[in-house]
């Protein structure tokens, strides 16, 4: 077997080579921000993001987190903002764990192992190839940023329905135009952070009373 054919798919991804093997076996259609190259047949981009999200913001009984919002398509929302991460880099991120966790890819790891793997990347331990490490750190940083921002911006209750003119659509009986997208019944990032969002009419009235008692000293 010629030397180049001994390159495993994982090794190939790891070194990011596109010049030889890719030409021979790739069926991948390059997309914006991605380099061409082959991908493992079990490559599942969405699953890697989902596992990363679950590791970044864990869920447990009575303490909802990222995974709790999967029925609301949070992973699809996350993926909208990280198109710049190539499939090659995501595949590398998934496969590189195999060297350190008995051949298991990232998505096959337990929750504790996934956390250990992320710490390994951040602490720059046990990964000697600086190019590989750089790519892993880049994936980690970008996904972390995106997950935290989306989650703590109160996904999926992060926007207010608006009409064509941009005016929020409110229930007909909401005469005070209170526009708080956060609703009871689903634990979101705002709930975890104790962020209550815009005031209710009752709170506004209380504060108007308080405000009247304050002394304003104009210059």
């Amino acid at each position: 077997m010629p030397k180049k054919e001994k390159v495993s798919r994982r090794k190939f991804i790891k070194h990011g080579s596109v010049s030889t093997v890719a030409v021979a076996i790739s069926q991948v259609t390059p997309s914006l921000g991605q380099t061409t190259g082959t991908l493992p047949s079990n490559y599942d981009r969405a699953l890697i993001f989902a596992k990363l999200g679950d590791t970044l913001i864990p869920s447990s009984p009575g303490d909802p987190g990222y995974k709790t919002l999967e029925p609301y398509n949070i992973t699809a929302e996350i993926m909208k903002g990280v198109a710049s991460i190539s499939d090659q880099d995501m595949a590398l991120f998934n496969s590189e764990s195999a060297d350190h966790f008995g051949g298991k890819t990232f998505v096959e790891l337990s929750e504790a192992q996934r956390a250990e793997y992320l710490n390994m990347i951040v602490d720059e331990v046990n990964i000697s190839d600086s190019r590989v490490l750089g790519r892993l750190k880049s994936v980690y940083s970008l996904v972390r940023l995106r997950v935290f921002i989306v989650f703590y911006q109160n996904y999926p209750q992060h926007t207010i329905m608006r009409d064509a003119e941009g005016v929020p659509i409110l229930p007909p009986d909401d005469e005070h135009q209170i526009t708080n997208p956060n609703q009871p019944g689903l634990v979101t990032g705002w709930d975890i952070a104790g962020w209550r969002g815009p005031m209710t009419w009752e709170e506004e009235e209380e504060r108007r009373e308080m405000s009247k008692k304050l002394k304003w000293k104009q210059y």
Binding site: T55, L56, I57, P58, D63, G65, A115, L118, N119, V122, R144, L145, F148, I149, F151, Y152, Q153, N154, H158, T159, I160, R162, G166, V167, P168, L170, Q177, T179, N180, P181, G189, W190, I192, A193, G194, W195, R196, G197, P198, M199, E203, E204, R207, R208, M210, S211, L214, K215, W216, K217, Q218, Y219
Partner: protein
């Protein structure tokens, strides 16, 4: 050009119903007359953004604005949030979203303006204009009851370090202290001072206001090396193009918008406009000053912010003040005053990496995580804006900026340490894209060094007036919105006296 029609003539077309345009419109409409016959002025004010009407009702708000301004977070504030620098393209302009800190121009600001370009804008001449803005915006001190724990601690700590912290004056009207105004949000309660009061007065005095029209260019006829303004070409939302004619045109589109509009009109540096140059002036788009700054955030074991709402802009001090007033850094505890948005707390450098530790941190971070901010108020570095592309060029990494920001970051860390912070951001903060642009059509006595004279008249184009942040010759210790407002009040008086007074 399709569907072209012609309207007018007007005595004055004001392009831009933001801070400057609105203040000047009210002054001229209420007090001005046509100099030649004493007749009331016929003024039209044009605005690219929408006009959310309703007489001001501070503390409550009115349906047109209350329904649209949601007080959620910056990216869900409504459809009129543009990326910087056009944060609020609507009638009212920057006063709809500004942080309502009400720093009045300092004596050194007037000295800098006069020294920089020879304008005669002395503090004494501005007295009435400043008082007008203080009254209009109700600028004063927020009562101590509304300070956050972090504000109190900051003041005490900074005093113990031998500095002299002063309270940041703010403009507020019947504020209910919801705490959501400091991040560029529109105020649904009409408590954040804005120029809509001026707009209302201008309309009452007969100004015609046309919103949602884009002015494509100022019509300039060439006269030798100079020009004369005749009106404007505007495009309505339906694509209809109209021409409005007027005796004079006042451009008030802001420090970025004004040079771009002048460029589209053929007025600016020949090097950029090429064969489209009608009138050459190299200063259009140049002499840009902004105020680069940085934040240092810290986590505390105790609450530094209020659980709900917030009150004020905190305190500020200048760690040192050179005799010439240049390169002055202002340090303030503004981000100790407002609750920290969850998504901001989540990604600060001091947050745990991820997992349960991060989640536990997040449960109280909005109250326990706060920052101190510094800005180079009077930088020595200038940039420019390309009047064709709109791209700004500012040398953030100039050593004079970088050195200053590193120095201020150390001071901010020291304050956090003395305040008892548990964890302080240690990275060298990068300068952020500083705000408060000025100077891009600056006023001055020398036509070679400026665009308008101290009376806001173009050096090169007859009947063209300019007033907004672009005419300010130097960045201000007093930040931006109040200087623009007071200069506009001053400009209104000058333009009135120069052009719209009988006899």
């Amino acid at each position: 050009m399709q569907n072209q029609s012609q309207s007018g003539p007007y005595d004055l077309i004001i392009v831009g119903a933001g801070t400057a345009g609105s203040i000047i419109a009210a002054r001229l409409a209420e007090h001005g007359v046509r100099a030649r016959d004493g007749e009331p002025l016929k003024i039209v004010m044009l605005e690219a953004g929408p006009y959310l009407k309703g007489k001001l009702n501070p503390g409550y708000g009115v349906p047109s604005r209350r329904s649209r301004f949601t007080n959620v977070s910056h990216n869900e504030s409504g459809r009129w949030v543009w990326p910087w620098p056009e944060a609020a393209k609507m009638v009212g302009g920057c006063t709809m979203h500004w942080g309502n800190n009400g720093y009045l121009p300092y004596e050194m600001d007037y000295i800098h303006w006069m020294d920089e370009s020879g304008v005669d804008w002395s503090q004494d001449k501005f007295k009435d204009s400043v008082q007008e803005i203080v009254d209009e915006y109700d600028i004063g001190d927020v009562p101590e009851e509304m300070w956050s724990p972090g504000n109190r601690l900051f003041k005490k700590t900074v005093e113990s370090m031998g500095h002299n912290p002063r309270y940041v004056p703010t403009g507020r009207k019947n504020c209910i202290y919801c705490g959501l105004c400091g991040r560029g949000n529109f105020c649904r309660y009409d408590s954040k001072p804005n120029v809509l009061g001026y707009v209302w007065r201008a309309e009452q005095a007969g100004v015609e206001l046309i919103p949602e029209v884009e002015v494509e260019k100022v019509i300039i006829d060439r006269r030798g090396e100079k020009g004369i303004a005749r009106g404007v070409v505007l495009r309505q939302q339906d694509g209809t193009v109209r021409e409005l004619r007027a005796d004079k045109v006042l451009v008030s589109c802001g420090a970025y918008g004004t040079p771009i509009l002048l460029g589209r009109s053929g007025y600016g540096p020949r090097e950029q406009l090429g064969d489209k140059t009608l009138v050459h002036n190299p200063n259009v788009g140049n002499n840009l000053e902004i105020q680069p700054g940085n934040d240092v955030w810290a986590e505390y074991d105790f609450d530094v912010k209020r659980e709900r709402g917030a009150g004020n802009y905190g305190h500020y001090f200048w760690p040192e003040f050179p005799a010439d007033g240049n390169n002055v850094v202002g340090i303030r505890d503004t981000i100790m005053s407002f609750p920290t948005y969850p998504q901001v707390a989540a990604v600060r450098g001091l947050a745990p990496r991820f997992g349960q530790a991060h989640k536990d941190y997040m449960r109280t971070a909005v109250r326990r995580v706060g920052g101190i901010r510094s800005s180079i108020l009077t930088p020595l570095v200038k940039g420019s804006i390309n009047i064709i592309t709109g791209a700004t060029s500012y040398p953030y990494s100039d050593p004079r900026n970088v050195k200053r920001l590193h120095w201020s970051a150390e001071i901010m860390r020291e304050i956090h340490r003395k305040m008892g912070a548990k964890k302080i951001e240690q990275h060298d903060p990068p300068s952020y894209g500083g705000g408060h642009p000025t100077g891009t059509c600056r006023a001055g006595s020398d036509p070679k060094e400026s665009v308008v004279n101290p009376h806001f008249e173009s050096h090169d184009v007859e009947n063209l007036l300019i007033c907004d942040g672009s005419v300010i010759p130097r960045a201000c210790l007093s930040h931006k919105c109040i200087p623009v407002s007071t200069i506009s009040a001053f400009a209104g008086r000058r333009i009135l006296a120069d052009h719209y007074t009988r006899g």
